[in-house]
Symmetry: C2
Subunit: 235 residues, 2 copies
């Protein structure tokens, strides 16, 4: 079976957490909306009047199943591709961490869109500055400090110990994205989270991830995604 991933074709966005898991697992998949008429196919599935239409991308078609919400897709893939623990307690714990990353991703998005997703960034620059200051002053230390502590407490290579999970892949993306969006702020902050920086580098060096990052399947960061580089927010 070939998975079908549906996500906006021009950004990494929330779809990237799913792409990283599929790539690490070496799973066969099509990034549907990046192909011809793919976005139209995606919109059609969301517009279904019956059944179980997803509210928003990303969603994954796995045989007859259509699964929406990033963390839910990872819950499904993790169990099937050895990217999560096998015990119920382990699966719930890793999913809990992914939901905490989900919360962080919303807050990253809100740095440039504090007044909501329907207005342009250009129409909310002043509140974006305030929100970004609060984000770096309070929220980044709290979130990344939490994951740094888990890495240190476990004493392992990955967040849950010696075995990679999808949470490690997502934390790679968080570090990578913060480096892209806030190069100055992140440079100054990295010495506070040496464990996370090390994790980022270990993930980037894994053969499947390395090949993916060097391929055209990895969409470059840009100013339509979650992580946006706006100079005025990075000082």
């Amino acid at each position: 079976m070939k998975y079908e991933l549906y996500y906006w074709p021009e950004i990494q966005g929330r779809g990237e957490y799913v792409r990283l898991a599929l790539e690490e697992a070496g799973a066969a998949y099509v990034d549907v909306a990046r192909g011809p008429r793919g976005t139209a196919a995606m919109m059609k599935m969301m517009d279904a009047q019956k059944g179980t239409p997803p509210f928003a991308p990303p969603f994954l078609k796995a045989g007859k199943l259509v699964i929406g919400q990033t963390a839910n897709i990872l819950l499904y893939l993790g169990a099937r591709h050895g990217l999560a623990p096998k015990t119920e307690a382990g699966r719930l714990w890793v999913h809990q961490l992914q939901l905490t990353i989900t919360d962080l991703v919303v807050e990253i998005h809100d740095t440039h869109h504090p007044l909501g997703p329907s207005l342009y960034y250009e129409d909310q620059k002043a509140p974006a500055k305030k929100r970004t200051a609060e984000f770096w002053g309070e929220r980044v230390p709290k979130y990344l400090g939490y994951f740094e502590q888990l890495l240190a407490g476990g004493g392992g290579t990955y967040v849950t110990g010696r075995r990679l999970t999808y949470v490690d892949l997502s934390l790679f993306q968080i570090v990578d994205g913060l480096r892209y969006a806030f190069p100055k702020r992140m440079k100054a902050f990295e010495s506070d989270v040496p464990g996370l920086v090390g994790l980022h580098d270990r993930i980037a060096a894994r053969p499947n991830i390395k090949a993916y990052l060097e391929s055209e399947r990895r969409i470059p960061f840009n100013e339509q995604g979650i992580f946006r580089r706006y100079r005025e927010l990075d000082h």
Copy 2:
């Protein structure tokens, strides 16, 4: 086994989605932080340097398990108390809907805190007005319209058909909360979502929920929670 729920003792907040599920199920539980020294016990569990400390309340202790993140707790409870379908496809679908409600809850919170959770509402009143206008203009119709369509498409009494799930309980709370926080706006909007209003009333009339809502276990809405009534945001 008696569950232990850990959540801030003075608000409904995110803990309320868990309370509603526990109450509907008739499950035995203690709302720990509402008891003597409960908040200190809660903070201590979050401050653990080893193991699996939760990032934030709510979290649920079920025997040896400590489960964090509202939707994750409901995933666990749903399977154990008949509040979710038994098939994998059904469980994933209901969890996906709960995660969509989670996204909506963040946006509700952001109406009064667009500049982030660390600043007071009084310090962000002007951006809160803009965010609220966008929320009611764009986001409420999109989110509630989606759930309204699911109710209509399924043709059943509840979102997934004839059987109640934890998603129905959460949608009750959304309607109840929006009525509290934005009485005028919600009154004008309700005719667009008759299915959801009907669902709200059916949930409120269920014996366990009715008894809960009339008890002291139901903390009244107030201006420290997710749903806050600020007159200037409701017109």
